[in-house]
Amino acid sequence: MLVSDALLTALEKEGLKIAFGIPGSANLGLYEKIPDHDVEVILMRHEQGAAHAADAFGRVKRKVPGVAFATSGPGATNLVTGLANAYMDSAPMIAITGQVPTVVMGRDAFQETDVVGVTMPITKHSMLVRKPEHVTWAIRAAKMIAVTNRPGPVLVDVPRDFWRVDIEFNWPSDEELLKEWIPGYRPDPPKPNPDALMKAAKLLVEAENPIILAGGGVWWSFATEEVLRLAEILMAPIVTTLMGKNAVPADHPLVLGNAGMHGRPEANYALYNADVVLAVGTRFSDRTVGNFEEFRRGKKIIHIDVDKSEIGKNIDPDVGIVGDAKEALKILINYIVDGLKFKRNEEVPLIRKAREFGQHAWELLLKERGRGMKPWKVLKIVREEMPRDAIVTTGVGGHQMWAALHYPVYTPGTYLTSGGLGTMGYGFPAAIGAKAAARDKPVLDIDGDGSFLMTSQNLATVKQYGLNVGVLVFDNGSLQLIRQWQDLFFSQRRVGENLAYLPDFVKLAESFGIEGVRPESYDEMRKAIRRVAQGEALVIDYIVDPDIMVLPMVAPGKVISPENLILTPEQAAGITV
């Protein structure tokens, strides 16, 4: 069997039947054989889009990573941002790149880049296939590494001269793979320490105002049910990180929403004022807590994470528990309910105080300001019109923070955003990847004008493959968050934020054969969103007043506390960052 057939057969056997990519000279030998296999390849219009689509596919499927194909050199380096994005958000994906022939490798051959070297710090693993017969081992290893333990992206680089080499197809077992190929890799998370869990149980039971901080790891470990159950036993609030917004249903009565720099006031109040924080599957990003030392003060911290290098990295916990979140939470619940015989009947006092604080804050925040349709009202319409399990993706910028604040996620796994890397341009190709993973669900990309422009060439892919997704473009003619930071913290010196000569997004969509609309009223907006909910591909150009700031926010470097919340632009006066 040829190496190209062997690789495609390996993909089939691993259930990796959809790939996003672009062909080039170094992977044409692979593309040549695609028609002979049960592998569909979706032509993206830039490799960055292929990586984001594969990342999103993996986020939706969880145990089936998305696959991206690219050629050597620029094709491979164009994947880099997407790989870094997946790495930061622990999304499983596999990039398969063609490499220059072995005889010229290292000699600056045409379109040569050491992509394995380039991607070492931004992938969970990367490998060059050094012998043709290794190709099936490499794909098997890539799949195992991508989806087990803490998920992440893996890159497999295949020299061009291998594609037509005849090999004997070899399919190693898991045991052979772990023994002969990746003996240092541990696919199974360590078992959580029972003593640490009992200590955590006692801290939670004795706490007056405990809180659960749910991160993206809750989604990856299938631990949503356990997080909710524990919260109900403790009658404690749940707040989330930006990634954790995807992990718990926002309409659960104990969920207060996402905390952080642009978090909901009630969530930030509760997180800051809790006496015991149970953090699950989060790395305590600076965007979640702000100043680490100040956040830590006066609290007991319990940290559960599958990755032991996350325990104590940013915040030193009182109890650190390494292990799978679902498994750890199950044991913790057992200790609390059966061991300590604990069950609280009323909500902890913190919840009422947080809600009161939030109510006061929202009265200020939602005052009519600016011209035109207000972002929070438009997002309310989006939520009302899109089904509960519709998938929403976002780009990065002001619109992303509006969505974090005002688009409640009801079904875990349906909110894909670039949390760690903050990659502008993520939303649209991610929507395409999500649609490919869940063709029965409507998908909407909530995007910014700057963000959408970076990857909008993939409109052609939507049309070509009938991957109908909607795009709601927050069109304010500026890099909104940049403009906001410059106005609030950089002496109102607006430099480089003005997106002059933006395309007409309606005409842009139409030039790709996709309909575009520009609603001028909430009613028109509702009709447009409804069309996306019904499965149409549609670009909705939403004109937003650029002077409407995304608030609340906490200035960078400041601890995320109620006192530091900026609810009006005037409150930012004098803050230096």
């Binding site: 070492m120 710090p121 969970k124 002969e180 003996p183 240092g184 990755d307 290098s309 030193d316």
Partner: protein
């Protein structure tokens, strides 16, 4: 600075598949990002593995974190951390 201490981190890299250079490079990428001071490194070929000995100084917390990060490198088989007594660490650093 008083909390800076010198350590040796020893780890094995599985080298049977690719000779071990990729694993070594990946490990070095991890060390580069750690808030520690790098002194020197020795790599010994041991057949299927490369045995790496890395001498660094740093806060205990940061060095332990680095050890944990190294354990995550797919090619790394085992990581051992050893603190070097101050007098030995000082004299060897001066010699270097």
């Amino acid at each position: 600075m008083s909390e800076m201490e010198t350590y040796v981190i020893r780890f094995s890299i599985y080298a049977a598949v690719d000779g071990g250079l990729d694993g070594l490079a990946r490990a070095i990428h991890v060390v580069r990002k750690a808030p520690v001071q790098f002194h020197d490194m020795a790599v010994i070929d041991s057949g299927e593995t490369k045995e790496v000995s890395l001498r660094i100084s740093g806060r205990k917390k940061d060095v332990e974190w680095l050890s944990k990060k190294l354990e995550k490198v797919v090619e790394v088989l085992e990581v051992k951390l050893q603190k070097i007594p101050t007098e030995i660490a000082v004299s060897s650093v001066q010699r270097a």
